[in-house]
Amino acid sequence: MYLKLVSVFFKENFSLKRLFGFDLKKNKTKTILIGFAIIYALSAYMFGFGYMFFDLAKIMNEANQVQVILSFSVTYVIGLSVMMTLFRASGYLFHYKDYDILAPLPIPDFVVLLGKITVMLLMIYITSFFFVLPIAFAYFFFQGVSFLGLLYFLLGFLLTPLIPLVVLAFVSLGLDYITKKLPFAKILNIILLFAIFLGIFALSFTFNDTEVNPLTGQIDMVKGLSDVYPLIGWYIDAVHELNHLHMLYYLLVSLGTFGLFILVVNRVIRKTNQSKNKGYISKKTKVNYDSKGLVFTMVIKEIKKYFSIPIYAVNTGLGPVILIVIGVASFFFKNDIQSFLSQMMEVDLPLEPLLLILFGFSIVMTYTPAVSLSLEGKNFWILKSLPIEPRTIMISKIIFNLVLIIPIGLISLLMLGINLSLEPLSVLVMMFDVIGLAILSSLVNAYLNLYMPKFDFQNEVEVVKQSIASFVGVFGGFALIVTFGFVYYFLSKALSMQATLFIIGTIMVLLSGLLYVYLKPISEKQFRSF
């Protein structure tokens, strides 16, 4: 029964149709194009990430410390387990949507729980695999492959997510419990998640001034984690020195904690799934009947949706948060910002384009138009049956994204301009670029969602993080920045920096204008096909 459940849950979450949002057999051209895009992205990633680790492993091997590479592997798996459990545990364990279907079936509760946890673990394993594979290659290339070493490495890989899963499942439940009775529960939840991620983010950018490989800056952090979490040490000893006793410790502690969790949490899960998660209910009795304009009311709807789905806000809201943080940071770390940016991006450029690269990444990471149409999901019938032009629907989604990024971007830029004593004209041109890129990337993302929608989903995470439109949106945005980087490189040879940035902004605005003109016919055509 357990295997049957796992197979059903797995199909529910990972069928290709669910992942891609369309039937692959019936859309061959689309499948081939997306297939190429994925292969390209994976190859680029594997090469880039793999090269960094290979390089690091080479350096560490020369210093007889190649085992440090293993702690990266464990740390990344722990990090991914933390993030995925934090986002998934509530909807996957404590309030799962198919509880009413599963509860009346003659299946013991713990078998259902095991099935659910197994699928969650499979998600963690699959995602972690892409990080661990290049690390494993780099490590075994320099250390040499032994059967026992490889066996312990794999065993460790499978055991590593167990304890983080246990701890973070309780953290997720705790967050849910603390915040759900408060008036702004979801917003509070989003703030807490941002706090956690900014902490992780800050740690991962602990750069070393003298090193070229950015990973070397993370060695201290990884070593620090090993000090507070001794299991990492056991794992390294087991794989690197073939210390059987430490492997046994690792096995017993991980499985023991996990087993205890299953026993304890089984009853908790039964209770949480039975209780209705209604949350805070307003006691306000006065009802507001004020009328508003169509686009305004549509944007308000988008805002309400945004803050009601923490995973949506956290994943697409990181850009504005980074911009606020860097803007405020400029008051305190005036002198460090340029060197920090130069090291982070590994390019030697004036401060203005460096800042624009950071702003660019923050803007393209705010990709709500790439997913907001898909997120209409089962509610899409409402918009389709109402007298609203498809273009108006898409524009309201674009405006929402611009509201999210432009005001914060401009304020942050103003703060940086004042604190870093940038020329007023440069700040103005940079503002023009920020607005141009925000509009262009929002329009591109809207097109992506029109062509690659995913209306059939159970959890919003499938759209926000796992849909093709979100994937292409973010990486396409990165490609857009790289392209404009090349334009800057060539134009700045002949023109002043300000003129170059102005021309880049103008190109963005012109491209946006072109996309805007075609938005009406394209959105009408695509809406008819949905």
């Binding site: 508003k292 009311t297 009601s308 007298p387 609203i388 096909s529």
Partner: protein, 237 residues
């Protein structure tokens, strides 16, 4: 008010969900649409509402073509689906205001309509509550209110009585009658044949995508019940 001419809708290029359907609904008609599961009722209702495209034929609402003038058609209709999936991030009143804004219902008129209908359907105390806290029946009532506040000329409903308590079902039937008396037309699908028999002046039966019987209810059922007629048609090859 509603003219459906030779409408064909095919799924996956093979299954004909609507096979050359022709129907006419006049002003003031209360039209019942019955058929077994998967016969093509929802497909036709969605095609009229502009939710799904159809392959060929013509659908006219108040003289406007669904294909050529979709916005003009949608301004005249209200559609209620079989499952009230609505924005759970909004409160009841926010959803009603959203619909009011889309149809440009003035604030004063909106207030009086919402107050009256919310009281009638017993939602007046929960309008400020999030829709996520509503039961299935409450959501269904909210969708019904949202369809009524802009006074549609044509009301399209897919299984409207599912999930409603007896009082709400009674109120809805009364609302149907008064709307039709005021000149609106109603086209709804249902499996409750007694309701069609007692309430509707016209009926159509759909089987495997084709209309197999249609017209004035009394002419169709003659001296038998609609249930008998339906079973007879269902048993025919």
């Amino acid at each position: 008010m509603l003219e459906i001419k030779n409408v064909v809708k095919t799924y996956n290029k093979t299954k004909r969900a609507n096979d050359n359907i022709t129907l006419s609904i006049e002003k003031g008609d209360l039209f019942g649409f019955v058929g077994h599961n998967g016969a093509g009722k929802t497909t036709l209702l969605k095609a009229i509402a502009g939710i799904i495209d159809f392959d060929s034929g013509e659908i006219l609402v108040d003289g406007y073509s669904v294909k050529k003038d979709p916005l003009l058609v949608k301004e005249r209709i209200a559609y209620i689906p079989d499952n009230p999936d609505i924005y759970e991030s909004l409160s009841g009143i926010e959803y009603l205001n959203f619909i009011g804004d889309v149809f440009k219902v003035p604030s004063l008129e909106r207030k009086s309509m919402i107050e009256a209908y919310a009281k009638k359907f017993e939602l007046d105390q929960v309008l400020n509550h999030p829709i996520s806290s509503y039961s299935h029946g409450m959501k269904q009532k909210l969708v019904i209110i949202s369809a009524l506040i802009h006074k549609p000329k044509l009301l399209l409903l897919d299984e409207p009585f599912v999930g409603l308590d007896p009082k709400a079902a009674f109120l809805l039937k009364e609302e149907f009658k008064s709307l039709c008396e005021a000149g609106s037309s109603i086209f709804f699908s249902t499996h409750v044949l007694e309701v069609v028999e007692k309430l509707c002046n016209k009926v159509a039966i759909i089987k495997q995508g084709k209309i197999v019987a249609g017209g004035y209810t009394q002419d169709i059922i003659k001296d038998q019940t609609l249930e008998h007629l339906f079973m007879e048609i269902a048993s025919e090859a």
